[in-house]
């Protein structure tokens, strides 16, 4: 009896979450579908974004995420490997780093925006640029990514490390060829959470990558991200609602694509090296 109740509760909670998502997406579709078209995806925004499209904004968004991943992935993986492989539970330095990561995860996004503006844009002289925005986002994404990867690495059974050592492999080789691939599901999850956070960010990017909606010609150009565009259309531009909802649908589709890509990559690349 308790068994049946438990099963029901579990299915109910899953259904609740699914229903919530369907509700939100349904409303977005209802309010934004009419505005969507191929032209919308490719052309430049006109009339403050109310007509025309989001072409340059998509390019800016992808570039920003690219910078974020290019910086956060290697740095994060290296830190995660260090935490998982080279520290014990009670290691003071390791715990200090873990603590600082947890704190970074909690710093409000708007504070990151102000910090990014002061440090990357002004102090390092990058100005309002995609590079500045990407670096700021990398700072925001690091904690989540490192924690998840570290967990994944820590869970790999020690037998594998013993085996590698028995084979005379260097630790670097063991990490690269065995441990990282073994932890790839967790790393992939970390990437997905990171991408999710990055694409959704608004407050941090307004002060770092800026407001310009032109097609960016280099990483040092200012470029509006899709989330910033949605915010401006819905909160600041009169009559921008339809375009905002359409852009929101595109953003969601983008997130789906990124997630599928991350899933495919982790499955294929890291996993395959393990088996082959």
């Amino acid at each position: 009896m308790a068994e049946r109740l438990f099963t029901w509760t579990i299915w109910l909670s899953a259904a609740l979450v699914a229903a919530a998502l369907v509700w939100v997406i349904g409303d977005l579709v209802r309010l934004g579908m009419a505005h969507l078209s191929l032209d919308f995806l490719l052309s430049v925004p006109r009339d403050a974004g109310r007509s025309g499209g989001i072409g340059p904004i998509l390019v800016s968004t992808v570039l920003i995420i690219g910078v974020t991943l290019a910086v956060a992935l290697p740095l994060g993986l290296m830190a995660a490997v260090w935490l998982a492989e080279f520290t014990t539970r009670g290691n003071a330095l390791g715990n200090a780093i873990r603590l600082s990561l947890d704190v970074m995860a909690g710093v409000p996004s708007i504070v990151f925006g102000l910090f990014g503006n002061a440090f990357f844009s002004i102090y390092l002289g990058m100005g309002f640029s995609i590079l500045s925005g990407g670096l700021t986002l990398a700072c925001m994404v690091l904690p989540v990514f490192i924690r998840t990867s570290e967990m994944g690495l820590a869970a790999v059974s020690d037998a594998w490390r013993h085996g590698a050592s028995a084979l005379g492999m260097t630790r670097s080789a063991a990490i690269w060829h065995i441990l990282l691939p073994a932890a790839s599901p967790a790393i992939g999850a970390g990437i997905m959470l990171g991408i999710g956070r990055a694409t959704a960010e608004t407050a941090a990017l307004i002060f770092t990558s800026g407001y310009v909606d032109r097609m960016p010609e280099s990483l040092l150009d200012s470029g509006r991200s899709l989330a910033v565009h949605i915010y401006d259309l819905s909160m600041n531009v009169t009559g921008g609602d339809a375009a905002a909802h359409a852009a929101a649908l595109v953003l969601i589709a983008l997130i789906v694509v990124f997630n599928l890509l991350a899933q495919w990559l982790t499955d294929r690349w890291l996993h395959r090296r393990l088996i082959a």
Binding site: A14, T199, I252
Partner: protein, 289 residues
């Protein structure tokens, strides 16, 4: 974890360079945090230096243009919203994690995981917009003004449930299968296996998920800006509007000068300190738990 020596067959000992390099990466992260705290402190200095922070506690109300900086009501609001969202999202998140790991048929699993990552990736501005246009009028029909503590808690819970579910599922997946089959061999049914064996075994990962979500909730800006009402007062009713510290910074930063601006940075510092305390507790409990 093994502290083995590198194989003596290689001339170039890559391992000797590896550890310091990795350590550097880790230290860089700490360095970033220190930089942030430094930056916040520098900007908040005008208020902190002259004992101005006492105004945060003593002043009656937040009216920076008139020199009043009482931010306790906003602090309380941030905490209450966070706790409310966690209370709502933790059980549901746990349920989803268990569903994903143990109950979902393989056909649904991939799709549900995608659904969760979709909700996790839903931009706060989109959810905030939806909350403002759909949820707020609904709540308003019950009791105006609609933008309230309850609406904020609901939308925030929607935001953090997927994180908790995904982290929880990841933690559950790392529980060794032998432990669970061992429990089955002992005659435990699925419910007991999950609740009394798998979940406790995964509690470190789950706690980590909860803490990440708490920190996320505490730092959330956009949603609270749009649906919580932004009135500076102690949260004294579920259907009353409140203003969170984060929303306050977002709302006023662009228009603040001198002391007002320093006050906002000080509140940012306060939030960071709060997260530090939370994280400290977490670390302590993980060590002994």
């Amino acid at each position: 974890m093994i502290l083995s020596r590198a194989s003596s067959l290689y001339r170039w000992n890559i391992d000797r360079t590896l550890a310091p390099l990795l350590l550097l990466a880790g230290l860089l992260c700490t360095a970033i945090l220190l930089l942030i705290v430094l930056f916040l402190s520098k900007e908040a200095w005008p208020v902190l230096a002259n004992g101005g922070w006492r105004a945060f506690i003593a002043d009656n109300g937040w009216y920076p243009r008139e020199g009043l900086f009482g931010l306790l009501p906003m602090l309380a609001a941030s905490l209450v919203v966070m706790l409310g969202a966690i209370t709502l999202a933790a059980p549901v998140g746990l349920g989803c994690a268990i569903f994903l790991q143990f109950y979902s048929p393989p056909v649904l699993r991939r799709g549900f995981r995608l659904l969760l990552s979709l909700l996790a990736g839903m931009p706060s501005v989109v959810l905030g917009l939806w909350g403002l246009t759909v949820l707020v009028p609904l709540v308003a029909r019950w009791q105006p003004p609609g933008t309230s503590l309850l609406t904020a808690i609901l939308v925030l819970a929607m935001m953090i449930v997927p994180t908790m579910a995904l982290a929880g599922a990841a933690a559950l997946s790392l529980v060794p299968a032998e432990m669970i089959s061992g429990a089955a061999a002992l005659g435990m049914g699925p419910r007991s296996r999950i609740l009394y064996v798998a979940v406790p075994a995964a509690r470190r990962g789950m706690l980590s998920g909860v803490l990440l979500s708490m920190a996320r909730a505490l730092g959330e800006t956009m949603v609270l800006l749009m649906v919580a009402g932004n009135v500076v007062q102690y949260p004294h009713g579920l259907l009353e509007p409140v203003r969170a510290l984060t929303a306050n910074i977002a709302l006023e930063m662009a228009y603040a000068t001198d002391l007002h601006r320093a006050g906002l940075f000080a509140s940012g510092l306060l939030l960071t300190l709060l997260v530090l305390v939370l994280a400290g507790f977490a670390a302590r409990s993980l060590r002994y738990g």
